[in-house]
């Protein structure tokens, strides 16, 4: 095999693998990417019911209702909009009223959301960044909530 043929074989093999990888990435991108919206953005961007998405905001004070069999419902607010979230399962350690959370699930209609996972911030200084940004955008950011860290 000459040097040229050898090089061609290698390039062909490389292109094949890269092509397969690119195909996989594109397929995976189409089906497995989830957008993040805050409650206000759901109305602003006219998100259709049935859309799979991540919802972020603060858990509204006094809105948490615990039902039977670990079902729970609460209102997520970003100051400009509110969405009621229903969820069945264990809530994260740092889930509290007034705290920022991110829920992933399906939008049922403009005001209600069925979550299949709920994430909270890691600790009192780390707000999920999406939530912090959404709150800043709505003008509801209070810096002292961010206390501790400079």
């Amino acid at each position: 095999m000459t040097r040229k043929q050898r090089r061609l074989t290698m390039i062909a093999a490389a292109l094949t693998v890269l092509g397969i990888a690119l195909g996989l990435v594109l397929v995976a991108m189409r089906d497995n990417i989830v957008f993040f919206y805050s409650p206000a953005e759901i109305t602003q961007k006219d998100i259709k019911p049935g859309t799979r998405m991540r919802l972020g905001g603060l858990v509204k004070e006094g809105s948490v209702e615990k039902g039977a069999d670990r079902s729970v419902s609460f209102v997520v607010s970003d100051g400009a909009g509110e969405v009621r979230v229903r969820y069945t399962g264990l809530l994260p350690d740092l889930f509290r009223e007034g705290q920022g959370i991110v829920a992933e699930g399906v939008l049922e209609d403009v005001k209600s959301f069925r979550a299949d996972s709920v994430l909270a911030k890691h600790d009192e200084t780390y707000m999920p960044r999406e939530v912090a940004d959404a709150l800043k955008k709505q003008g509801h950011w209070q810096d002292e909530k961010h206390g501790g860290a400079k």
């Binding site: 095999m1 693998v17 397969i20 497995n32 264990l90 600790d123 501790g148």
Partner: protein
């Protein structure tokens, strides 16, 4: 005073970097041996100064010196001793100090070996290392001074983030940094080789041990981080495809590819351009990881306080080194001559295949990690790319890789016999089929777990076919086999052990499909079935620790009425931070683990308990230890010992080492 000494030492180390960045480099370009001779001692001094600085910060933590801002923010006088020490790097400033300590450590290690290398290459590499070190020292001095004092010291500190108060903090970051930062030395060597245009098999021989060391520590560093997340985050998972994890996985994939391509370069003088490029890319990905984690682009336990100024600074470092080295590469690449020829079916061909798959999978991780960031920067849309993306892109690339590992090990250099190799693997394939059948019978669904476990057995057995063949080449008498086994090159054993380790990890991953998860409300005295076991909640106890209060559940695991273990998962409440952490109860039974987490107590006094039975799960981490040991055995090989090579230019001095090969 000691604190100021630490700060001053850091400034001095930076000053030495300025000298080192110019003098040895100039000397190597002009052939001035006096100037080149500066490199080694200066590198040692840099290390001494940075170590002094690190010791000073550790001292401030040990005596709880609350006039130092860093100590106030991350320590507490009642914190246990081990967390006072490991807390030094449990924050942004301290972790950067650990980063530069590791950078200077590698510089010093190379300096100690410098006499066994051509002096211009060593001097240039040490000079480049000082460029990197200098950049990060400047970063610390300008944006992240760990020694800053406060005017009015408080009586008490704010304590370390409770999530980090774990032995994991003492182990995971130092190991990971040895890996991450260890890649800087391969980068420095690559840049030095490009500067001098000396890129040959000999270069690969000097560089490969360093890559191997970095790779070994990166492997266990990632693995220990994964185990820490597994037992402390309370989700029962060990890998989340979190961008921070990906930031460490990408350099690992590149370093793994580099190890293999450097082998081709060393043995066959081929793939030279590619190897140099990989050496640059591997460290570039380390820098990218540092940027992602430290700049506040991502939020996670790893990104301590965010400060945009720091992000911009690290980005500048990133651009300078990646851009600089790639320009140098582009400038030199034409002058490189291609080396040995090989057929596509050969050991080289198999290693090229390995590189192709590893770098492609690295690229897919790169896309999945950075695409959301890029999209947000461009359109403002926020998306998340989750585990399904990575599972779908990663697994199809790794299956052919695992299939190829044993075949590649059996192919000859230059031109291989693939049919012969496959025939020799019949035993491994047979074992895989037998294991698959047994597992399908014993454990059943999911099919994918059975298939992957079978693949894992094939890799483990296949890894030793070559060594077994050589051991038994002279017959099956135990004494002869033993003699032949110890006569084999250690690097061959090392490769076999490391490849088997990859198979062991794969087995552990495959077995996750057989896991059982249950979430139940329990009161004292309740039983719950979990796979083959019955778990009983005995009672719930509240107890006080040094800086927390704890709610612990005492649980007993029984198998057929016989007690096989007890565990007490707990929740700790840290008053100083008003924060709760989950301590999973873990009990290892054979190779599997029972993993129990107790989230908050319900109003009716019952506990919601999350229980997992994870068969063979420990193999995931045991595999990484095998990879580490394999690397270590390989490193002990006489032929590969660091710097153990001929010096083409300098006849005098050291006793002549034995000729290689």
């Amino acid at each position: 005073m000691i604190v100021e000494t630490g700060h001053y030492a850091l400034v001095l180390a930076f000053a030495l970097c300025l000298v080192q960045m110019v003098v040895p480099l100039w000397g190597s370009l002009t052939g001035d041996r006096t100037l080149m001779a500066v490199a080694a001692p200066v590198s040692l001094m840099q290390f001494a100064l940075v170590a002094l600085s690190f010791a000073a910060l550790t001292y401030a933590y040990l005596v709880s010196d609350f006039s130092v801002l860093n100590v106030i923010e991350n320590s507490h006088s009642q914190k246990p001793l081990i967390y006072k020490i490991s807390g030094v790097w449990g924050n942004h400033e301290g972790s950067m100090l650990l980063w530069v300590l590791t950078l200077s450590l590698f510089g010093a290690l190379v300096a100690l070996r410098a006499k066994r290398m051509p002096e211009d290459l060593a001097a240039t590499a040490l000079s480049i290392q000082s460029w990197v070190l200098g950049a990060f020292l400047l970063f610390i001095l300008l944006t992240s001074n760990p020694f800053a004092r406060v005017g009015a010291p408080p009586m008490e500190g704010r304590d370390l983030n409770p999530l980090l108060q774990d032995p994991g903090l003492a182990i995971h970051p130092p190991l990971l940094y040895l890996g991450y930062v260890g890649l800087s030395i391969t980068f420095s060597f690559a840049a030095a080789a490009l500067i001098h245009g000396r890129i040959d098999a000999q270069w690969a021989r000097w560089v490969r041990p360093w890559t191997l060391i970095a790779w070994m520590f990166l492997t266990v560093g990632i693995s220990m981080g994964s185990y820490w997340a597994y037992y402390t985050l309370g989700w029962g998972g060990f890998w989340f495809w979190d961008p921070v994890e990906n930031a460490s996985l990408m350099p690992w994939l590149a370093a793994t590819a580099l190890l293999h391509s450097a082998l081709v370069m060393e043995k066959r003088d081929a793939l030279k351009i590619w190897t140099i490029l990989l050496a640059i890319l591997a460290f570039s990905l380390s820098l990218l990881g540092a940027f992602l984690v430290r700049s506040g682009v991502l939020t996670s336990v790893h990104s301590f306080a965010n400060d945009p100024q720091r992000g911009v600074f690290i980005l500048a470092i990133l651009v300078f080194f990646i851009g600089g080295s790639l320009s140098l590469f582009a400038f030199r690449v034409q002058s490189l001559k291609q080396g040995g020829i090989f057929a596509p079916i050969s050991r080289e061909g198999a290693l090229v295949f390995n590189n192709l798959l590893l770098t492609t999978s690295c690229a897919t991780v790169f896309v999945g990690t950075l695409y959301p960031l890029a999209l947000e920067a461009v359109t403002g849309d926020k998306i998340s790319v989750g585990p399904p993306f990575f599972n779908l892109t990663f697994a199809p690339l790794f299956v052919p890789l695992f299939l190829a590992i044993p075949i590649g090990q059996l192919l000859a250099w230059k031109r291989g016999d693939i049919l012969g190799a496959v025939q020799r693997l019949a035993f491994a394939v047979g074992m895989a089929v037998v294991a698959g059948l047994i597992l399908a019978f014993a454990r059943g669904e999911p099919v994918l777990s059975v298939l992957f476990a079978g693949l894992a057995v094939y890799v483990i057995v296949g890894a030793f076919i070559e060594t077994w063949g050589r051991m038994t080449a002279g017959g099956y008498s135990p004494a002869l086999m033993w003699r032949r086994a110890i006569g084999l090159p250690l690097s061959q054993w090392g490769a076999a052990i490391a490849h088997a380790g990859a198979g062991v990890t794969l087995f552990g991953l495959a077995a996750t499909g057989w896991g059982v998860e249950r979430i139940v409300g329990m009161k004292p005295g309740d039983n719950v079935n979990l796979g083959p076991y019955t778990v009983t909640l005995e009672d719930v106890e509240r107890r006080k620790g040094p800086n927390y209060v704890e709610t612990a559940a005492h649980m007993t695991i029984r198998e057929g009425g016989v007690v096989v273990g007890k565990l007490d998962p707990s929740r700790k409440f840290y008053a100083h931070r008003s924060m709760t952490t989950t301590e999973a109860g873990l009990r290892t039974i054979e190779l599997g683990q029972v993993h129990i987490v107790i989230p908050e107590q319900n109003s009716d006094g019952s506990l919601d308990v999350r229980l997992y039975w994870k068969p063979y799960v420990t193999l995931i981490w045991i595999g990484s230890i095998f990879m580490f040991l394999g690397g270590g055995v390989s490193l002990a090989d006489r032929r590969l010992r660091i710097g153990y090579a001929r010096r083409p230019r300098q006849p005098k001095g050291q006793p002549a080492p034995a000729p290689a090969e």
